[in-house]
């Protein structure tokens, strides 16, 4: 499994443990995006080195995530159900683990990082997840370029715009 595939099964496993039987595709786009932003902001390094997110109507999506979910279904680790969803007015593509979580190669620190942020992210509604994503620097940057006119669909979001937290910068300085 790729690192992104491992992250997706990890998120689905934690969702199950937190009492959510499945997650929507929307959640599986936004949660890895936000984890990537938090990682850059607080660790100064990306959690996912080669995952690209693009601007879509409802915020960040990723072709890499889409492909990873396809692969995980083919390999039998993840299953997808299409469920009616009156809350959002369209069918929900509900993803869940097909069995036990397959082994992942994250180290202890990476697992703590994920376990620290995931409970709060998993509690968020679609609306709040979208809001949280829109408050990140890459989304603010593209919003500014759009100037309230048409949405720049398909444009790659720029993670270089994520400012590293000043205390993380200071802690780097403490080293020297």
């Amino acid at each position: 499994m790729t690192r992104l595939e491992q992250l997706l099964v990890f998120i689905l496993d934690r969702a199950k443990k937190e009492g959510k039987s499945d997650l929507s595709q929307f959640q599986l786009f936004k949660i890895p995006y936000l984890l990537q932003v938090y990682s850059l902001k607080y660790s100064g390094t990306p959690f996912l080195a080669d995952t690209v997110f693009i601007r879509e109507q409802n915020g960040p999506i990723s072709v890499n995530v889409y492909a990873a979910l396809e692969n995980l279904q083919k390999s039998g680790h993840v299953k997808k159900e299409v469920k009616e969803n009156q809350q959002y007015g369209y069918a929900k593509h509900a993803f869940s683990l097909a069995g036990k979580m397959p082994p992942v190669s994250f180290d202890q620190a990476e697992i703590i990082f994920l376990d620290n942020f995931l409970p709060d992210l998993l509690k968020l509604t679609h609306k709040d997840l979208k809001k949280e994503a829109y408050e990140t620097e890459p989304m603010k940057e593209i919003h500014a370029k759009e100037k309230g006119r048409h949405i720049l669909k398909g444009v790659v979001l720029n993670f270089n715009s994520v400012a590293v937290d000043p205390d993380v910068v200071d802690s780097y300085a403490d080293e020297f």
Partner: protein
Amino acid sequence: MSFKIGDILFFDRYQFTDTGETKPHFGLVVLPEHATKYQGSVFCAVITSKQPKHWGLCLYKKYYSCFVRDSFACFDRKDLVSKDGLDLDMQPRGTLTVPDIKTAYRILRKSLFVIDDLGKSPFLRGVIIYEWKKIIALPKK
């Protein structure tokens, strides 16, 4: 109950990550319990009565009634300690005062790059900084 940053716990079996040695010890909670709950552990800095050379925070017994003598939170010895080792009596035994939380954060942050333990990972370092910043507002430099 769920432990939070700054709680002082007493373990009758505190296992050191680096040596595997187990001893009764107090530990200072460095990360909220939700970050490590699926590992059945709490991330702590060990508390000893012996002052470390560096990266120590003095916990005066006059402020912390759980100690019989002045003690030191040692940020050079951070461990992922199994909750199975927690003493069965009331926990936490104490909680850092607000001024000590601020002092602790300054020492802890500086120690993160220097001490070669789990906290040196950029991901764990990031979580520690994120969580401690949430609970304090440091005065501007």
